[in-house]
């Protein structure tokens, strides 16, 4: 079942709500307000707190950093590739190295860029953002989780990268079960004893489906959502490794430098168990609908099932 609200709407509504008591939040766009609806919602409510710098992402990030030095909490938005690799050095130096409090939102993660194709399809955004010291890297799963996360992102002083699906996500969580949500702490979806599937973003609902299918084949899979890729929840990974003895990672992202890497780094350090990866294998994007591209890049429920079986067989 899909969420009622689009993720971009959740961002707007939550920032509007927070801005009632926090006059420091500003939104900076590079000519994609219509795509993020910050013209219709946040900008309607707080027109003086939105800056549109035009199609100039490097300047957008610098402007955000400069505003941060004056006490503002800027949210700088663009499509994933343009919010990250297009202005990577600006993020690295003007924001992170300068210890500025800028939140960067990269929209349309991975295959969800659909018809915009290879130029607009970030499979590497989290990998490069993970390599920026102090950067928190977060991919919300659904509306309930995103709503719970945004106040914590605002509260945290320091740079945060938010990998945001723009549209209606598949609902996984509810407001009630997100009341204990913590950035950096995995959101457990279901318990299991044979293998743990660590999933992020659009892959979480697929992991839940995969667990159902695995059950029919006698494999009891746990599902956990690693929404925060950095800092990664080492405790949850170690616990899963010890308890289930096998791990699958599922990400709408290149496995090089992504969630697979982040999890494998912990497994190598804490508790060696088989880790199988579902994710994009060192490829560029292309145009196509999400279901088609998910087949092409092996991001489907069936791919997760196959990876889980393989992981279990390697125990």
């Amino acid at each position: 079942m899909k969420d009622e609200l689009e993720m971009r709407r959740v961002l707007n509504d939550t920032l509007i709500e927070l801005s009632k008591t926090n006059d420091k939040i500003v939104v900076i766009e590079s000519d994609l307000q219509s795509c993020h609806l910050t013209n219709k919602f946040f900008g309607k409510e707080y027109p003086d707190r939105v800056i549109n710098v035009g199609i100039a992402e490097a300047n957008m990030i610098g402007v955000a950093a400069g505003m941060s030095t004056m006490g503002k909490i800027p949210f700088a938005l663009s499509f994933g590739p343009f919010a990250t690799r297009r202005c990577y050095d600006q993020i690295f130096i003007s924001v992170a190295y300068a210890k500025q409090n800028v939140k960067i939102v990269g929209s349309d993660p991975g295959v969800t860029a659909e018809a915009n194709g290879g130029t607009h399809m970030p499979f590497e955004d989290m990998a490069i953002m993970r390599a920026v010291p102090t950067m928190i890297c977060f991919e919300p799963t659904d509306a309930a989780q995103f709503k719970a996360a945004i106040p914590q992102i605002v509260e945290h002083y320091g740079p945060v990268y938010i990998r945001m699906f723009r549209k209606q996500a598949e609902q996984v969580f509810c407001d009630e079960c997100m009341k204990d949500f913590k950035l950096g702490k995995a959101s457990k979806v279901k318990d299991g004893k044979d293998v743990t599937i660590f999933a992020s973003g659009i892959m979480v609902s697929r992991a839940v489906e995969a667990a159902e299918l695995l059950k029919a084949e006698g494999i009891d899979a746990a599902v956990s959502n690693l929404h925060t890729w950095k800092p990664i929840d080492e405790e949850a990974i170690e616990e899963a490794a010890k308890k289930t003895g096998a791990i699958v990672t599922a990400e709408n992202h290149n496995i090089i430098g992504g969630l697979y890497s982040a999890v494998a780094e912990v497994v190598a350090k804490k508790c060696l168990v088989p880790v199988e990866a579902v994710g994009v294998n060192d490829e560029f994007g292309q145009v196509g609908k999400n279901p088609y591209l998910s087949e092409v890049y092996h991001l489907t429920t069936a791919d997760i099932v196959a990876a889980a079986k393989k992981a279990v067989s390697r125990k």
Binding site: V26, D48, R49, I51, V53, G54, A56, A58, N59, I61, G62, V63, A64, A65, G66, M67, S68, T69, M70, G71, K72, P74, D89, Q90, I93, S94, Y97, A98, K99
Partner: protein, 272 residues
């Protein structure tokens, strides 16, 4: 400007240049050329036109100085040290292990530095962001931002300038250190910036071109820039790279050079 004040400012700029020579001399090598060329403008801002206070370095309504050509860090440090932002003896620590005075400006290391810079083209965007935020908050701060002529090869300089002109950021004063030399050679050979005034006029700036080593002219230009409403300002400082030291002034490769103890002592007349 009265003669006494002008004499004070000129003497101050000379002293600060000697401090830069000594500071780089203690390390042995550094970006001397571009530090010497901006010193008169820095003196005009910090000792006459600017609103900053070493005793209250973070005061909200202070004027900001962004040294976007971040390799002129030593020029900033000479001023901030003289103003009392940090202890005098830091002069010997430039670029040494564990220092608070790195080659390129770092706001988290050096008291009085308003923005980290060094990757060229970035500071100007940050200055634009500061100007936007100041206007949002009715903060009277003037945002001064130094950029280099070589730095102006960077596309980000023009992204930032276009936005500043388009949005009439009249609390922003850009100062271009137009010394006409960049690391690999003359700006005119590598990537011609002329006609420089026309360029920023076309970006909707109020442009003034001043002799960059005439403090009185720089002060007057800052007054005019502040009085001119509805446009950001560009003050083109017509400068000489390495100005004010016999071994750097007009020397082709003075962007970064070695300075021995013998050289800086002889130049400054400071005894061991």
């Amino acid at each position: 400007m009265d003669k006494e004040k002008l004499a004070f400012l000129e003497a101050k700029a000379k002293k600060l240049r000697y401090d830069v020579i000594e500071m780089i001399g203690h390390f042995g090598v550094g970006h001397i050329g571009g530090c010497m060329s901006v010193m008169d403008a820095l003196t005009a801002i910090y000792y006459d036109k600017g609103n900053m206070d070493a005793k209250d370095p973070k005061k909200v309504d202070r004027d900001r100085v962004v040294m976007s050509k971040g390799h002129a860090g030593p020029a900033m440090y000479a001023v901030l040290r003289d103003k009392g932002y940090f202890p005098e003896d830091w002069i010997t620590t430039l670029n040494k292990n564990g220092t608070n005075l790195p080659s390129h400006c770092d706001m988290n290391k050096t008291p009085g530095i308003d923005m980290t810079a060094g990757s060229l083209g970035q500071g100007i965007s940050c200055a634009v962001g500061m100007a936007i935020a100041a206007k949002m908050d009715n903060n009277p701060a003037t945002i001064y931002c130094f950029i280099g002529d070589g730095e102006s090869d960077e596309g980000q300089v023009w992204e930032a300038s276009m936005y500043a002109g388009s949005h009439k950021l009249d609390n922003l004063i850009l100062l271009l250190d137009y010394n006409k030399m960049q690391l690999d050679g003359p700006v005119s050979v590598i990537n011609e910036l002329a006609p420089v005034a026309d360029k920023w006029e076309a970006f909707n700036f109020f442009v003034q071109v001043v002799p960059g080593h005439n403090i009185e002219a720089i002060c007057e230009a800052i007054d005019k820039a502040k009085a001119n409403k509805g446009k950001p300002s560009m003050i083109v400082l017509d400068t000489i790279k390495g100005y004010g030291a016999s071994f750097t002034e007009g020397v082709a490769n003075c962007h970064s050079m070695s300075i021995t103890e013998e050289m800086w002592r002889k130049e400054t007349g400071r005894d061991a």
